[in-house]
Symmetry: C2
Subunit: 444 residues, 2 copies
């Protein structure tokens, strides 16, 4: 409810929540959908959702003119989580898994809580009905920091099932903390896709003025319906001016800021496409083309006994024994620089080289990546790289530690150890960028 | 030795290796110092070191004119690792610790080896003699991936000693892999500095055409002699066009590319200064001013029983027990997003919250940082952050995981546990950026 004063004027103009209105304030003019007032907060502030997906708050007292310019009431009556089916629009399945995009701030406690009914997403973003025939399914309500391989498997199975049931694209809403782990997992689990699988989320909850939830969801639905890119990727804000989102390959993306809306960045590659809220899609590189005749191949086994090990000064190599004792099958090392471990420190008790050898002798697959994140590792430039290669370590090219970690668990789940070893540094789904001529030259 | 043909012409013009020459090729003109020919490679290629520090190779046959324009022979006779002492130049101590900057490619094996005599650095970079009275000391020859807290202590003691002996600035050459750990350690160990302590290195060895060794060393010496910034920092290439270096605060820098020359980037802050090879220094923010009357305070104790723990899906919380069993005193968590651990996964055996409580109950100090690297952590926005705060975790503001890790070991070495807990999230030497008003507003 808005303030009595505001409600009275709105009523007199025949304006209801959910309808498109136009307001004037001084020399400025605003057009958008009148949103419900949050339970708490100043009741004199009208919340308007603009066409770019953002909410703005306008002090009712500062508004000189207000009129109704259209109704979007129909979009507020989606039955059971479906938009009105319109002819000519593509079918998009929206799988809801939780995270900030489906959360609101509880102004009483200051905490953030999840929507109990994810279908509410459709009510909050009525524009989706103009982009595609969207069907929402509530898969789970899991904070992304709690996601494990079993949730990855559930998402993969549901996405494959959605295509089988006629969806032309899939959007998965997901918490942002580990979205890049999930996007990598789905990239390996879902191969030969007929259409796009788009993971999206929000860095700020949907009832905050600075929320990216709406635009991310709108852009993701455009990508799912119209990009023609049959790959798994993330679609999130991509510039500080919030004018477009980037669809980034699921194995080449990483969250690189705790709170900024453009936190998701491509690592060692360009985005697959840029997209704005109006649905303009600009393809930026090679991609697998959609083909609805194709059947998704689901490879959803996973071996969770894989560790991601970060190297740093004074680090304790007996960690390797911890993992050997617990029957681990693989380790991805987030090494330093071009891919180095401390092999010869001034402290006798530290001996990562022996640890590495013990791990390999225990039948573990050991992959080397770099904590630098950007760039490619090499086992041949420096002596330590050669020693580690000789000890059986596999250099993982330009994969991020996170992608290599997800890949190794997936390889060990779906293939034997030998095969996993062979495929770890081989490109399967775009996770490894081929070396450029310049790189070859540079290393020569 | 160059080819017979080339040597004969050079002799006829009275040109020796180490002298300044001018060459014409077509319409291009080059001026620089004639370098010795590497043992292997095409002997018809003249290697010229340009004033920006880069070597270029020119095919002798393509050169239409060549003449001697000056001698720098004197710079090739530095006795015992000192430049000629010139009046009016500042005294700079150069501490050599190893790494690529003091390495050459062994073209026979393709491997990289370290210089046996670090004094050779002065021969390779005769320009240093014009910038400062440089004295080289060979501290150690340690690959940076092998550096531990004892090497940090050695560097800190030597740097403090250098100021005591009259140095006005200190340059430390260092491998790049862990240079940002060392720069953070020295930032805490060396307080109340009278002048700059500049860590520098090279991403490419000095005999490669693309080497950044010369320019980094030249720029670092300028900073050490003339910046007036009494802080510890790194000075490395800062743009892809290689036109300047950045001097970045030692606690705010991270290596973010495996091989690029501009791999060292400021995280959550701007560089302290930019500097080019000509010695133009552009200050970019607030800094501690040099004061040669001040005495460096050496606080070089260190507690190495601190772990850096990376969070990821399926990660194993029993790791905490590994560290408890081994008597660890502290843990820095590289958590996800705003600073979260998986507290409630679908797998019962994973329980990081209990692990966190056990660690705190075992008298460990537990600090929370983000693997996003950029941005600030918060223990209040989401419920998990609150639960972790309640369990005793300390949110480390906008420190990188690496800086917080180094800081916690330093705090525990120099202070009691209680004091360490109190100071971990308190800014001591510029490692924590104060919240901006915009951030406060944004979180409200």
């Amino acid at each position: 409810m808005y303030s009595k004063e505001a409600e009275s004027v709105l009523r007199s103009k025949g304006i209801s929540v959910g309808e498109k209105i136009q307001l004037e304030r001084g020399k400025e003019s605003f057009e958008g959908i009148l949103m419900p007032r949050p339970d708490t907060g100043d009741q004199g502030i009208l919340v308007i959702k603009l066409s770019n997906g953002y909410n703005i708050g306008l002090d009712f007292k500062s508004v000189s003119s207000i009129k109704r310019v259209g109704s979007s009431a129909e979009t507020f009556s989606f039955p059971k989580g479906k938009t009105h089916v319109r002819k000519g629009l593509k079918a998009v399945k929206l799988l809801y898994t939780g995270g900030t995009i489906g959360s609101k701030v509880d102004y009483a406690t200051g905490g953030v809580y999840m929507l109990t009914k994810p279908e509410e997403l459709l009510h909050e973003v009525p524009e989706l009905a103009d982009i595609a025939n969207v069907e929402v399914e509530h898969l789970m309500s899991v904070a992304s920091e709690d996601m494990t391989y079993t949730e990855w498997q559930t998402m993969a199975r549901k996405a494959a099932g959605a295509f089988k049931s006629g969806a032309e694209g899939v959007v998965i809403t997901h918490g942002t903390d580990t979205m890049h782990f999930s996007s990598a997992a789905l990239s390996f689990m879902l191969q030969s896709l007929p259409g796009p699988v788009v993971l999206t989320g929000a860095q700020r909850s949907s009832d905050r003025g600075s929320s990216d939830a709406f635009m991310n969801l709108i852009c993701s639905t455009h990508i799912a319906a119209h990009s023609g890119i049959a790959e798994v990727g993330t679609c999130m804000h991509s510039s500080s001016s919030d004018d477009y989102c980037a669809f980034i390959r699921g194995t080449k993306v990483r969250k690189l800021h705790t709170s900024a809306r453009d936190a998701f960045r491509p690592v060692n590659g360009a985005p697959l496409a840029k997209v704005n809220a109006e649905g303009n899609i600009h393809h930026m590189g090679a991609y697998n083309k959609s083909d609805l005749g194709r059947k998704a191949v689901l490879k959803d086994e996973y071996e969770p006994k894989v560790a991601l090990l970060y190297m740093y000064p004074n680090s304790d190599p007996t960690l390797i024994n911890h993992y050997i004792d617990r029957g681990y099958k693989g380790i991805i090392v987030a090494a330093t620089g071009l891919g180095h471990m401390p092999l010869s420190t001034s402290h006798k008790e530290y001996d990562w080289l022996q640890g590495l050898k013990d791990a390999v002798a225990s039948d573990m697959v050991v992959g080397i990546t770099s904590q630098c994140l950007f760039g490619r590792v090499s086992g041949t430039v420096y002596r330590y790289g050669r020693m580690m290669t000789d000890a059986g370590a596999i250099y993982c090219e330009d994969m991020t530690p996170e992608t290599a970690y997800v890949k190794l668990g997936w390889l060990l789940g779906n293939h034997g150890r030998k095969e996993a070893e062979k495929l770890l540094a081989t490109n399967l789904v775009g996770e490894i960028t081929p070396r450029t001529e310049a790189e070859w030259r540079d290393e020569a």
